[in-house]
Amino acid sequence: MTAAFGVVSISASVRSGEVRALDVLDAHLEVVASHEAGVHAFNEVTAEQARVAASMIDGIVAGGGDPGPLAGVPIALKDNLCTAGTPTTCSSKILQGWHPPYDATVVQRLAAAGAVFVGKTNLDEFAMGSSTENSAFGPTRNPHDQTRVPGGSSGGSAAAVAAGFAAGALGSDTGGSIRQPAALCGVVGAKPTYGLVSRYGLIAFASSLDQVGPFAMSVADAAALLDVISGPDPMDSTCLGEATARSASRLGSGVEGLRIGLITEMQGAEGMADDVKARLALAADALSGAGAKVDQVSVPAVTFGLSAYYLIAPAEASSNLARYDGVRYGLRAPGSADITDMYLRSRSAGFGDEVKRRIMLGTYALSAGYYDAYYGQAQKVRTLIVKDFAAAYENFDVLLSPTAPSTAFEIGAKSADPLTMYLNDVFTIPSNLAGHPAVSVPFGVGDDGMPIGVQVLAPALAEPLMFQVAEVLESLAPPAPLSASRRSLRALGAPADRGAAL
């Protein structure tokens, strides 16, 4: 159904000369032109640079060369990934006017593989949030229903893919920021094992949790993107030193005989909607029907995940965000009396409420006399979660849970109550704390017709197995409609035969 506009299919057609990269790009830019004003997925659309890049790809193909595995694939980049010369804002006023002098490693790798960048996508300021409402540039809207949020913090990237603005996108996931918006927008979103993908050029929120990962319309496309961006990087000391098996290496292997665990603690959680619960049960049955052995499994420590996360992430953020002080770049409040005044006024004016809240939380958690009780204790919980997951993986190959407790909620519905908002990440956070991979796969719609996602969790570096199961789940999912804007993507023709459907 969407194959023609998938990552793998676009690249195959462009490489073979069947379609031109420029035509692929223009088709997507037309949808951007007609629908972006309503969705607001982008902080900046980089149409001009994209056209230059696409023409270059076409030139390479015309010259008999190979532009790479992502030849001509239109990609959207979360606006916390550094792009040389293009503003990178983190959707914050504090980075006003800053143009990075360098590309993030993942951006370099996509470009080297022939990808074409459509634009920089909106996010919750500094990736702090679950709805993309905490953006200094206004919220992104869900392409399936513009009165609802797309999730967050990578809401712009999820929405861009769901809306047909791009074939794929990159986001960052610190506590669920790829998987939750993927679920709410009806696309595939994966958070890789910590260290699989370089963080160089990803503007840090919480360094020990942040990972860059892909969004796409299919599991195979997400795996293909991940395979391009993953791998060792001498610029990131926390990046794994050796290459690992390709994420797409086990696609098409089925689930026959695999042991799949349904996480008990993630089924009866507080605030979990009935339709989400029902879809999860359906997913478990479907996998069972496909030959997997599905059973309940308890991972007790995951219930402490949320509390631990909201100490560790703000603590690291309070330090990571200290550099936005008005001294070297970004916003500097004018007319300050002295250096302290300049710090206070610049940071007060530059940061939004949620960012300030987390900086204060984190500063407190690290303070002398409180460190052991808060940060230290949270790190112990982290160890406990790793231990409990390890125990579960002794008996199971992968684990299953909902991605988010509910379908996309109305814009403004939770913005007044941070704690309710934080609960959105309750199922996704444990994977970040453990450093394990997890992927959200669309699995039908809820009672309101909005997309629902099911999460496949796997042990560290078990991406091939994770995508293997996710692909089966995808093939068994109940039908879900594409967004109106994605449906409006026009069919592409070969250069010599315009008009014929691909």
């Binding site: 990075p100 360098y102 840090a204 309070s318 001294v327 250096i339």
Partner: protein, 492 residues
């Protein structure tokens, strides 16, 4: 100087306690966490990149050469080199690009250790850890301090330069001892190759923790941390001032409060920078962008094996060769100036009995004295001094062929213009005593008085005069009496 405040002599009955924190810039090619050049005195903000400027999205990658230097320093200070990790030290300051410093906290790369002062005192080392340097701020207008300035200029060339901070135990008891410690530490750092030891360029920076307590007390007094001393002289002055200030304060009924104080070189006094209450809460936590440092044992062993002898070992060696005390000025000078190879050369040319390294103690002692006096006072000339010629000269003096005054004259000429000591001596008309003539005479005198020699040998030192008298007689007063004495001692 008229600005010098009157510093009263400290009253007796007080003991000074000093601990020092020395920051040593490492002589690596590149910075601690990026590939920028580590170089002093260049155009501001030319050796910078996204990493050392702390630009959003950049990440640190540890420089292996800096770890190696840190290990060399640790090994030279008898520290335990251990698996370690980095922490973030959080505070806001414009010359710190990330508004945190990557440093080591509770698990430093080097734990414990000591160094030995020339006088033999051992000063404990608490730790020697790796960290990054900050940029350099110049405050324009006002008194050059941040709060008085109209504007500030920041140069980030130094930001990210690797430092090792060496924290001593509170083992020093006087300003002189503090200076001796820094002097010795500097020599060690230079010997390891880790540092150029230039205090005036800021590649070695010293902070002093100073307190006083009633003599005999076990408890420490409240300490103050003194910053901004940029020479050994100002370290000594600052400590002396601070000690007097604290004693005066206590004796007049006051209480020393824990604080950081700034040494004002011009005014010759320390002034409060911030009190304990105003002290920063650095909110240390493990640096998540770096992995723990766990140097393989074989690597550490090979680094240790590659270290040259340290100054204290070299002093011991020269002391052993010459019979002079290791802490004597001559020995200390010879080692400090790296002239011990001249002494070794004298040994290498001979095969004296009862010797360490080939030269008898008397001969080696002459070599030490000539090196510590004539050579040390003409270091430019020393560069041209042939080791073998120096050795020959010392042999000529020790054998009595030249008197010590003649030897000094010949040596000065060698330092000025080079040349062979025998030729120079002849040219100066110094009457050549037959080679080995004095030795033969001394031996004859000894042989002629076996009874006195036995008594002298057993320790009756006053008999030296008896023998020297006979030697004087036998040579009709031409013998160099110092050489004769030395020969006499060497045969005992």
């Amino acid at each position: 100087m008229s600005t010098e405040p009157v510093v009263p002599a400290p009253s007796s009955g007080w003991e000074t306690v000093i601990g020092l924190e020395v920051h040593c810039e490492l002589r690596t090619q590149t910075k601690l966490f990026c590939g920028c050049r580590n170089s002093f005195g260049e155009e501001p903000n030319t050796n910078v990149c996204p990493v050392c400027l702390g630009l959003p999205g950049s990440l640190p990658v540890l420089n292996r050469a800096a770890v190696e230097y840190a290990i060399r320093i640790g090994a030279a200070l008898h520290s335990t080199v251990q698996a370690s990790m980095f922490h973030r030290k959080n505070y806001f300051y414009p010359d710190m690009p990330k508004d945190y410093q990557i440093s080591q906290y509770d698990v430093p790369i080097n734990a414990g250790g000591w160094l030995t002062l020339p006088g033999g005192r051992r000063i404990g080392i608490v730790r020697a850890h790796l960290e990054e340097d900050t940029g350099k701020t110049t405050h324009v207008g006002g008194g050059g301090r941040i709060h008085e300035a109209t504007r500030s200029l920041v140069d980030y060339n130094r930001a990210g330069v690797p430092l090792v901070e060496i924290v001593s135990a509170p083992d020093m008891r006087s300003a002189d001892e503090a200076r001796a410690y820094v002097d010795e530490l500097r020599a060690i750092l230079v010997a390891t190759g880790a540092s150029d030891g230039k205090m005036e360029e800021g590649s070695l920076r010293v902070d002093a923790n100073v307190s006083v307590r009633p003599a005999g007390s076990e408890e420490f007094g409240t300490r103050c941390e003194i910053k901004n001393m940029n020479s050994l002289r100002s370290l000594g002055r600052a400590v002396d001032y601070e000690v007097s200030r604290q004693i005066q304060l206590i004796e007049s009924g006051g209480v020393v409060s824990q604080e950081t104080r700034h040494w004002d070189e011009g005014a010759g006094r320390t002034a409060s920078m911030r009190s304990k209450e105003e002290a920063y809460d650095y909110r240390y936590f493990p640096e998540p962008d770096l992995v723990p440092v766990d140097p393989p044992e074989e690597w550490v062993a090979s680094i240790k094996a590659s270290l040259p002898p340290m100054p204290s070992e070299r002093r011991e060696r020269i002391a052993e060769m010459s019979g002079l005390p290791a802490g004597s000025e001559a020995v200390v000078t010879v080692v400090r100036l790296g002239l011990d190879d001249l002494v070794e050369a004298v040994g290498a040319q001979g095969a004296d009995t009862k010797s360490v390294g080939g030269a008898s103690p008397a001969v080696a002692a002459i070599a030490v004295k000539r090196a510590a006096n004539e050579v040390a006072s003409d270091l430019a000339g020393a560069a041209n001094l042939e080791r073998s010629s120096f050795a020959k000269l010392v042999r000529m003096e020790s054998s009595g062929q030249l008197t010590s005054a003649q030897a000094r004259t010949v040596l000065k000429s060698m330092l000025e213009a080079g040349g062979d000591p025998e030729v120079i001596a002849e040219g100066l008309g110094f009457e050549a005593m037959e080679s080995g003539g004095l030795e033969a005479i001394v031996d004859d005198v000894i042989a002629a008085h076996p009874e006195e020699w036995a008594r002298y040998s057993e320790g009756e030192d006053k008999l030296a005069g008896f023998f020297i008298g006979h030697v004087k007689q036998a040579t009709q007063g031409k013998a160099d009496l110092k050489s004769a004495s030395a020969l006499l001692r060497s045969r005992r």
